[in-house]
C-alpha cells in the first residue's frame, strides 16, 4: 500500500506559501446541493512543487480556484504568504494576485493581440511598473524563446505558447505558480520541456501547484495530493510515474 492516510499538517510557519484551512465548497444546483470540497487542510511550503491528482469531479479545479482566490470557499480560509484572502475586495485581491501569483493552464494562456514579448511584459505593465526590457528578454531566453519575442501567439506552436506563459509567470517572480493541466494539450516532448521548466522554477525557490491527471507529469513534483469526492485521500512524496499510476488506479476503483 503506497497511499498514506491523509493527515492534517501543521499549517503555520514562515516557509508556507499557501495555506488551506478547513476548506469546503458547495454549489446549489437543480439536482440539489453538490459538495465539491469537503474539508481540505494543507500547507504548500515555499519552494516546493506539488501535484494535485484525482478522478474527474474530485474537486481538483475547485481547489485550485479557491487557492488562487478566484472563487470563495463556503467555509474555511485561504492564506497566501500569511495574508487571509477572505477580507479582501476585488481590487485588493487582483493586486495581491498580480504581486504573488502566476498562472499557466491547458490552453488559451495568451492574448492573441500581443507579441510574445508584450504578453510577458503585460503583468508588470498592469501593475504600473516600468518594463525592464532586458528582464523580459531574459525570461523568454530561460524558456528558450529569445528568438521568437516578436511573434504573436497564433504564430507559435502549442508548446511554445505554453513556454511563453511560463516566461510570463517567471518574469514577475510570483511566490506561487498555479498550473492547471499545463501539458494537457501538448505532445510528449513539449510537455517534458514545460515540466522541466516548472521543476526548475520550484528549485529556484518559487512554489508550484499543478493540477494534472498525467502520472508522468505528477512525477516531476515533490509531493502528490490525491483527491476524491472533495477530500484529500492520499499523499505521495518523491514518487515515480509508476507508483503514482498505481495509486491513481486504486483510487478509481
Amino acid at each position: 500500500m503506497t497511499v498514506q492516510q491523509a493527515t492534517a499538517p501543521g499549517s503555520t510557519g514562515t516557509d508556507v506559501a499557501v495555506t488551506l484551512d478547513g476548506l469546503t465548497r458547495s454549489y446549489r444546483s437543480k439536482a440539489g446541493r453538490v459538495d465539491a470540497l469537503r474539508g481540505i487542510t494543507h500547507a504548500f511550503r515555499s519552494g516546493t512543487f506539488t501535484a494535485i491528482m484525482g478522478p474527474s469531479g474530485s474537486g481538483k479545479s475547485t481547489l485550485l480556484q479557491l487557492a488562487a482566490g478566484l472563487d470563495e470557499p463556503t467555509s474555511g480560509r485561504v492564506l497566501i504568504g500569511g495574508i487571509p484572502l477572505g477580507g479582501l475586495d476585488q481590487t485588493e485581491l487582483t493586486k495581491l494576485r498580480r504581486d504573488t501569483m502566476g498562472f499557466v493552464f491547458q490552453a488559451y494562456n495568451l492574448l492573441d493581440a500581443l507579441t510574445a514579448f508584450d504578453n510577458v511584459a503585460l503583468p508588470a505593465r498592469l501593475a504600473g511598473q516600468r518594463v525592464d526590457r532586458a528582464a523580459v528578454h531574459d525570461a523568454l531566453a530561460r524558456v528558450g524563446l529569445r528568438e521568437l519575442a516578436r511573434r504573436r501567439p497564433p504564430e507559435l506552436s502549442g508548446g511554445q505558447q505554453q513556454r511563453v506563459a511560463i516566461a510570463r509567470a517567471l518574469h514577475v517572480r510570483p511566490q506561487v505558480l498555479f498550473a492547471d493541466e499545463p501539458t494537457g494539450a501538448l505532445d510528449r516532448h513539449s510537455g517534458r520541456v514545460v515540466l522541466d521548466l516548472l521543476r526548475t522554477t520550484a528549485d529556484q525557490g518559487q512554489t508550484v501547484v499543478m493540477v494534472t491527471h498525467d502520472p508522468l507529469a505528477a512525477s516531476y513534483a515533490d509531493e502528490v495530493l490525491f483527491l476524491a469526492d472533495g477530500m484529500v485521500v492520499g499523499r505521495l512524496r518523491d514518487a515515480d510515474a509508476a507508483q503514482i499510476a498505481t495509486a491513481m488506479s486504486e483510487l478509481e476503483q
Binding site: L70, Q90, T94, R97, D99, F103, Y108, L111, D112, A113
Partner: protein
C-alpha cells in the same frame, strides 16, 4: 492600458470594422442632417425668399430635425449592440487579463480606449463622408420634389462641429454599458472551456422591460377610451420603448421565438436543425442580428400603419360629412353652374392663409353657412353656428386638443396687419378635406375659391347633376367619391415621400447593422463550423445552415417588430372607429411598403450570411495551405 487597446484593435480589426462602419455612417448621417438644417437656416434668411417658401423651409427644418433624431436613436443602439458583441465574444481574453492582474477599472479603461480609437477613426471618416454627401442630399431633395427652393450648403465646419461631438457621445454611450459588463468578467472566465453566453438580464434591462409591459397593459386597458390624438402619441412612443426593451432583453426573448419558428423544419432538414441549435447557443449573435430588424420593422411598420389609417380616418370623416354628390375643382364656373336648372346649391369652398397663435400659419375656411350646411353638413356639435359672424370663429374637434383651446376662448390672428382676437363660438365635426380647423364668415376676410360642392335641385338625380356639371366644367367635375379618392391618393403619396425622408437613413443604418452583426457572428463561429465540416457536412450544407440561421433570426426579429406594429395599428384602428362613431371607414393596410421593409431585412441577412460563408471558406483554404 492604451497600448493593449491599440494592439487589440490592430490585431482583430474585422470585429471593429463593424463598429467603425456603423459609427462612420451614424456620424455621416448627423453631418448630412446638420448640413441640411444649416442650409435651410442660411437660405431662409436670405432676401428674395417669399413667405410661402419660408414656410416650406421651416417644414423642411423640422422634418430634418425628426430625421436626425431617428438617426441618432438608431446610431446609439446599433453602436451599443456592436460593442456589446465585441465584449461578449472576448470573455475568455478579458478573464485572462483579470487573472494576470488587471483590475476591473483597467479592463474598463481598455474597452473605453478601444472605443475611443474606433470613434476617432470613425469621426474623421464620417465627417468627410458627410461633407461629401451634403450637397448631394440637397440636390436630391430638389430632384425628388421635396422642395423647390434652391438650398445653399453652409460652411463645412458647421456639420463637423455638430457631428464630431455626437459621434464621440454615441461611441461613449454605446461602449458604456459594454465596458461595465467587461469590468465584471471574472478571472475564472479565462479557465472556462466552452464560452456559453450569459443570458441573465441586468437591472436596467428588467426595468425597461417592466416599463414597456406596463405601457402595453395600460394602453390595452385604455384601448376602449383612447382619443385619436392619444393613439397617435402611443403610436410614436410605444415602438421606441418596445425596441429599447426588446434590445436589452433580446438574449432572453429572441432565441425562443426563433426556436419556435424553426420547429416545423427541424425534423425535415439537418441544416435547419443545426441552425436552430446555433440560435440557442450563440445567443448574442441571434439577438444582435434580430435587434435592428425588430427596430426597423416596429418603427417603420407603426409609422406606415398610423399614417395610412390617419388617411383612412380623414377620408371617413370626409364621407360622413359630405352631402354634395358632385365636386368641381374649377371654381371659375360657379356663376354659370348656379344658373343651371339641374343644380340646387353651389357651395364654394374659400380659404385664406392666416397667421394664428405664435406665428403658425393655418388655412382658414371662409364659409357661407347656408350653402355649407347643405353641401358639407356643417353643424355645431357644441356652441351655435348662429353666433358665427364678425370677430368669431368655429373650430374643428381635433383643433381643441391640438391647440389647447376651448369653447368661449379666443384665437389670435392678424388680418391686414392688425392683431385680431376671435371668439370661439362653435365646435364642428372634423372633415379635414372639406373644411380646415378654423372657419370664419365672409364679413371678416375674403377667401380665394378652391372647389365647388354641388347638390341637385329636388327631383334631379345625382347622375344628371354630374352630367350638367361636366357639360360646363369638363374633367374638373367629378363624383364625390372620385374626388375623395383623388385627395386620399395625394395624401398617401405625400406621406410616403415624408416617410422616405424620415426612415430612409434609419433603414439604411438598420441594414448596415444587420449585415455587420451577421458577419461578426459568423467570424466568431468559424471554429465550430470547421468542426461541422470535419464531421461530414458538405459545403452546401454549411451554406444552407447559414441561410437557415439568418432566415430564422430575421424572421424572429420581424415577428417581434411586426407584432409591435400590429398592436399599434390595432390601437389606432380602435380610436378611429370610435371617432367616426358608426360611420364606415376603409382600412387600408400598406402591404407593398410593409412587405418591402420585411423583404429587404430578410434579403440583407441572407446575402450577409452567404458572404460570411464565402469568407470562411477562403479562410479555411488558407489555414489548410
Amino acid at each position: 492600458m492604451f497600448h493593449v487597446s491599440r494592439q487589440s484593435v490592430r490585431a482583430s480589426w474585422p470585429a471593429y470594422a463593424g463598429a467603425f462602419v456603423a459609427l462612420t455612417f451614424g456620424i455621416a448621417l448627423i453631418a448630412v442632417t446638420a448640413t441640411l438644417i444649416g442650409a435651410v437656416e442660411t437660405t431662409g434668411t436670405r432676401a428674395g425668399v417669399s413667405s410661402a417658401e419660408r414656410l416650406q423651409l421651416d417644414d423642411l427644418s423640422s422634418m430634418f430635425g425628426v430625421m436626425s433624431g431617428v438617426s441618432l436613436f438608431m446610431a446609439i443602439f446599433v453602436v451599443a449592440s456592436t460593442f456589446g458583441f465585441v465584449v461578449a465574444t472576448r470573455q475568455r481574453e478579458l478573464g485572462l487579463l483579470r487573472l494576470i492582474g488587471a483590475t476591473p477599472r483597467q479592463v474598463r479603461r481598455l474597452l473605453l480606449g478601444e472605443a475611443a480609437l474606433v470613434a476617432l477613426a470613425a469621426t474623421v471618416a464620417g465627417c468627410l463622408v458627410g461633407t461629401a454627401l451634403g450637397p448631394v442630399a440637397l440636390w436630391a431633395l430638389r430632384a425628388i420634389g421635396v422642395t423647390s427652393v434652391h438650398l445653399v450648403a453652409p460652411p463645412a465646419w458647421i456639420a463637423w462641429v455638430s457631428a464630431a461631438p455626437s459621434g464621440v457621445l454615441v461611441a461613449l454611450l454605446g461602449c458604456r454599458r459594454a465596458s461595465k459588463r467587461a469590468a465584471k468578467v471574472p478571472p475564472t472566465a479565462a479557465l472556462r472551456e466552452a464560452s456559453l453566453e450569459r443570458r441573465r438580464p441586468g437591472v436596467p434591462a428588467i426595468l425597461t422591460g417592466a416599463l414597456t409591459a406596463a405601457a402595453m397593459v395600460g394602453t390595452l386597458v385604455l384601448a376602449g377610451q383612447l382619443s385619436l390624438l392619444a393613439a397617435v402619441m402611443v403610436a410614436v412612443f410605444l415602438p421606441a420603448l418596445m425596441v429599447a426593451a426588446l434590445t436589452s432583453l433580446g438574449p432572453l426573448v429572441v432565441p425562443p421565438v426563433a426556436a419556435l419558428l424553426a420547429r416545423p423544419f427541424v425534423e425535415r432538414s439537418v441544416a435547419a436543425r443545426l441552425a436552430a441549435g446555433e440560435l440557442r447557443t450563440a445567443v448574442r449573435t441571434t439577438s444582435s442580428v434580430a435587434a435592428p430588424v425588430t427596430a426597423i420593422a416596429a418603427m417603420a411598420g407603426s409609422l406606415l400603419l398610423t399614417l395610412s389609417f390617419t388617411v383612412d380616418w380623414s377620408s371617413g370623416q370626409d364621407r360622413a360629412q359630405f352631402a354634395a354628390p358632385v365636386v368641381v375643382t374649377d371654381p371659375s364656373v360657379a356663376a354659370r353652374l348656379a344658373a343651371d336648372p339641374a343644380v340646387g346649391v353651389v357651395d364654394v369652398r374659400r380659404t385664406v392663409s392666416l397667421p394664428v397663435g405664435d406665428g403658425d400659419t393655418e388655412d382658414v375656411d371662409v364659409v357661407d353657412l347656408a350653402t355649407a350646411a347643405a353641401a358639407r353638413r356643417l353643424r355645431a356639435d357644441d356652441g351655435s353656428l348662429a353666433d358665427l359672424h364678425g370677430r368669431t370663429v368655429a373650430v374643428a374637434h381635433t383643433y381643441l386638443t391640438d391647440a389647447g383651446v376651448h369653447l368661449g376662448g379666443k384665437v389670435t390672428t392678424r388680418i391686414d396687419g392688425k392683431r385680431v382676437r376671435l371668439r370661439i363660438v362653435a365646435v364642428v365635426p372634423d372633415a379635414p378635406d372639406l373644411y380646415g380647423n378654423l372657419l370664419v364668415t365672409p364679413g371678416l376676410v375674403t377667401g380665394a375659391p378652391t372647389q365647388l360642392f354641388l347638390t341637385p335641385r329636388s327631383g334631379v338625380s345625382d347622375h344628371r347633376l354630374l352630367r350638367a356639371a361636366q357639360a360646363l366644367a369638363g374633367g374638373a367635375a367629378m363624383t364625390r367619391d372620385a374626388w375623395i379618392d383623388g385627395v386620399t391618393a395625394d395624401a398617401r403619396r405625400a406621406n410616403n415621400l415624408g416617410l422616405l425622408v424620415v426612415l430612409g437613413p434609419a433603414g439604411l443604418y438598420a441594414g448596415i447593422a444587420i449585415v455587420n452583426a451577421t458577419l461578426i457572428g459568423a467570424a466568431q463561429r468559424r471554429r465550430q463550423l470547421r468542426l461541422v465540416g470535419l464531421l461530414g457536412a458538405t459545403p452546401d450544407q454549411v451554406r444552407r445552415t447559414a441561410l437557415w440561421q439568418a432566415g430564422l433570426t430575421t424572421g424572429a426579429g420581424l415577428l417581434l417588430g411586426g407584432t409591435t406594429a400590429g398592436y399599434v395599428g390595432w390601437l389606432m384602428r380602435q380610436a378611429i372607429t370610435r371617432d367616426l362613431a358608426g360611420h364606415p371607414a376603409a382600412m387600408t393596410i400598406p402591404w407593398l411598403p410593409l412587405l418591402g421593409v420585411a423583404g429587404t431585412c430578410v434579403g440583407l441577412a441572407l446575402v450577409a450570411a452567404l458572404a460570411a460563408v464565402g469568407v470562411r471558406r477562403r479562410a479555411n483554404a488558407h489555414s489548410v495551405a
